[in-house]
């Protein structure tokens, strides 16, 4: 019986860690989404597609650099930049003319982009499954808690999450651009009146947000098969996290991602067949008690 208990608690601890590694991906993507939502007031439905493009680009970069481990690290640097470039073109080409429009318009525009991107990915990469290999130093597992295996790559994700969170915090709170962006989120007219080029601020924030989406895509690629349809799965989760955490609030995105990731992984332990409902239940509960999100939103 003791063995069962020790396995149960080892399993629970292991599950918590698995949930936390999932949180990393969710947080990175959601933080980008919330940044764009908070500052630009654009609900970027195409965020999921950019995440998918990030994953597919990582595949191509890895393949072009010979398929070895170095490929993954190169992809980690390049792929999000490519996604950022695509988003810059979209922003300068279309979005910048539409900031004054109502949100529904912007939502529809980003939705249209998500459809276009989805089909572009199919055109460029085809329908076959793709796979990005786990880099050599992260292959294998470490026997944590009671000998249960925990993949090394998940450990990497666990550590990458807080790193990105800290970098984002420094970016938004300690840099001039960050402070201007936060001001623009609250009152863009005032920022413009003070003489700052609001359009350029918006472009920067949009590109950074989309860079994060691409980064999430690259990081998730070694753990799943890179397929069409990745965008739809993720965008719903990302939006729910953003809403749970408070629109525009990066710490809210972290909190939301934590709740989502942990309820997802622990839910599987409690009720394997219906484990998937737990994160959504959590969203319902949070919104019942705090309709505007857990933390302060910028709207």
């Amino acid at each position: 019986m003791d063995a069962v208990y020790s396995i149960i608690s080892a399993g629970v601890l292991s599950q918590v860690f698995v949930g936390l590694s999932r949180t990393t991906i969710l947080f990175i993507v959601a933080s980008g989404l919330t940044l764009i939502l908070g500052v630009l007031r654009i609900p970027n439905v195409a965020h999921g597609s950019l995440y998918m493009i990030g994953a597919f680009t990582a595949f191509t970069v890895t393949k072009l650099s010979g398929g070895g481990s170095a490929g993954f690290w190169i992809a980690l640097v390049i792929a999000p930049l490519i996604v950022a470039l695509i988003s810059l073109i979209a922003e300068r080409g279309m979005f910048q003319f539409l900031y004054e429009r109502e949100h529904l318009m912007l939502l529809l525009l980003t939705f249209a982009f998500s459809l276009v991107f989805g089909d572009l990915v199919k055109l460029v990469w085809g329908g076959e499954y793709k796979s990005v290999p786990v880099p050599h130093i992260f292959q294998g597992f470490v026997p944590l808690f009671g000998g249960l295996p925990f993949p090394l790559y998940n450990l990497f994700l666990l550590l990458a999450g807080p790193v990105v969170a800290i970098l984002l915090y420094l970016l938004t709170n300690k840099t001039k651009m960050g402070k201007i962006a936060r001001a623009a989120a609250v009152d863009r007219e005032m920022v413009g009146a003070v003489g700052i080029n609001v359009s350029r601020v918006f472009a920067t924030v949009f590109v950074i947000g989309c860079y994060l989406a691409g980064l999430g895509g690259v990081l998730v690629a070694p753990t799943v098969s890179v397929t069409l349809g990745m965008d739809h799965n993720l965008i719903i989760e990302a939006f729910l996290i953003v809403i749970m955490g408070g629109l525009g609030n990066i710490w809210g995105a972290l909190l939301g991602a934590l709740i989502f990731g942990l309820t997802q992984s622990l839910g599987i332990l409690i009720w394997p067949k219906f484990g998937i409902i737990f994160p959504y239940l959590a969203v319902v509960v949070v919104l019942l008690f705090r309709p505007t999100g857990l933390l302060k939103s910028t709207w």
């Binding site: 396995i7 399993g11 292991s14 599950q15 698995v18 999932r22 398929g67 989805g118 199919k122 085809g126 329908g127 076959e128 499954y129 793709k130 796979s131 290999p133 786990v134 292959q139 294998g140 597992f141 249960l148 295996p149 925990f150 993949p151 090394l152 790559y153 998940n154 070694p222 753990t223 799943v224 098969s225 890179v226 397929t227 069409l228 349809g229 799965n233 997802q264 992984s265 599987i268 332990l269 394997p272 067949k273 484990g275 998937i276």
Partner: protein, 404 residues
Amino acid sequence: MKKSVLLSMSLLLFVGLFMVCPLTYAQNTIKVGIVDTYTGPATTFTMDVLDGFKLAVNEINAKGGVLGKKIEYTTRDEKFKPDIGLAMAKELVLKEKVDILMGTINSATALAISDFAKKEKLPFFVTFSKSEKIIGEKGHPYIFNMNENTAMVGKAAAVALAKKPYIKYWIAGDDYEYGHAIANSLWNNLKKLKPQVQKAGESWWKVGEADFTPYITQILAAKPDFIIAATGGAGMVNFQKAAKATGLSQKIPFYQHTAIELSVLKPQGQNAPEGVFGTANYFFYYPDTPSNRAFVDEFKRAYNREPRIGALSGYMTARFIAAGYKKAGKIDTEGLIKALEGMSLDSPVGPMAIRGCDHQLELPMYFGVTTKNPKYDFLVAGDVQVIQAKDYMPTCDEVLRVRK
């Protein structure tokens, strides 16, 4: 613009659209309407079916077609949604007036279209749906199943696993009909062939689950001899990746249908787990016969990739349609059905027949294990055992008994 001008222009446009739209192909062609999923992860399989079909159709048309008529086809994307699929099928039959319906990878859509085809008395060739209900309880004379179904897979795997020394089994898989059907068929047949086997437990995860670590730790803790992993298309690669990352593939052997198939192994390159057992109905490298090699070369020349099982299904569907009409002597549904029952054609992997009683294509099934091969930069099936159709197909009695 003046109202009258606007009105007349739009009327003109309206009429023009009707004239330009392909109303009816001349009666001098055989029309095949293909409903399938061309969006999302399933596309990898359905493009194979279409390309294999096109390859055969081009061959047949180049030789003058069937009874002097060329085969024409048109596709509709159902986006993996049965209601859209059924609507597309109806449009194909009622508006495009197709002679034959073909498709789809979605079993629910296949069943819906099958029902419609039965009412319209139109032949429907199922190319990638694996539900046993298609020719089982919901079967009827107008349906032809050109790929394997879950009952057959389970029995074939059971035949192979019964010869192995494993006793304690863990059953896991995607929590939907496909997963449960394969697992049930496998387990029931295995128990019949080898009564000593025991079930140590079961775990089922949602379709599209990306994180298997919790389930894998649960299974490792139970220490079974063998795992039956009834994963579906998209889950195959994810499960194999997770099995490798957690070390499961080195600790406990497991089986998945199509684990040894190109679509699962090629994307992973040299990183796919070794020692995974699986069943599949086609390899481009086995059997290494002249006819298989010729097919592979032709396919590669046309589409720049190796053919997989979907390609074989699509290819043989076109071949059977052509041969069936030819034998019937006219483009007639009842004639086609009668001609096809029991007809055997030469395929890239040997002679293949459509069983008369239930219209199931008799495919060979291969059981093997994932192995590295210096000739390819991906893993292939090793230790291949061939399980003949007659050894793993349910009997005519068993099939017809459940039909309503």
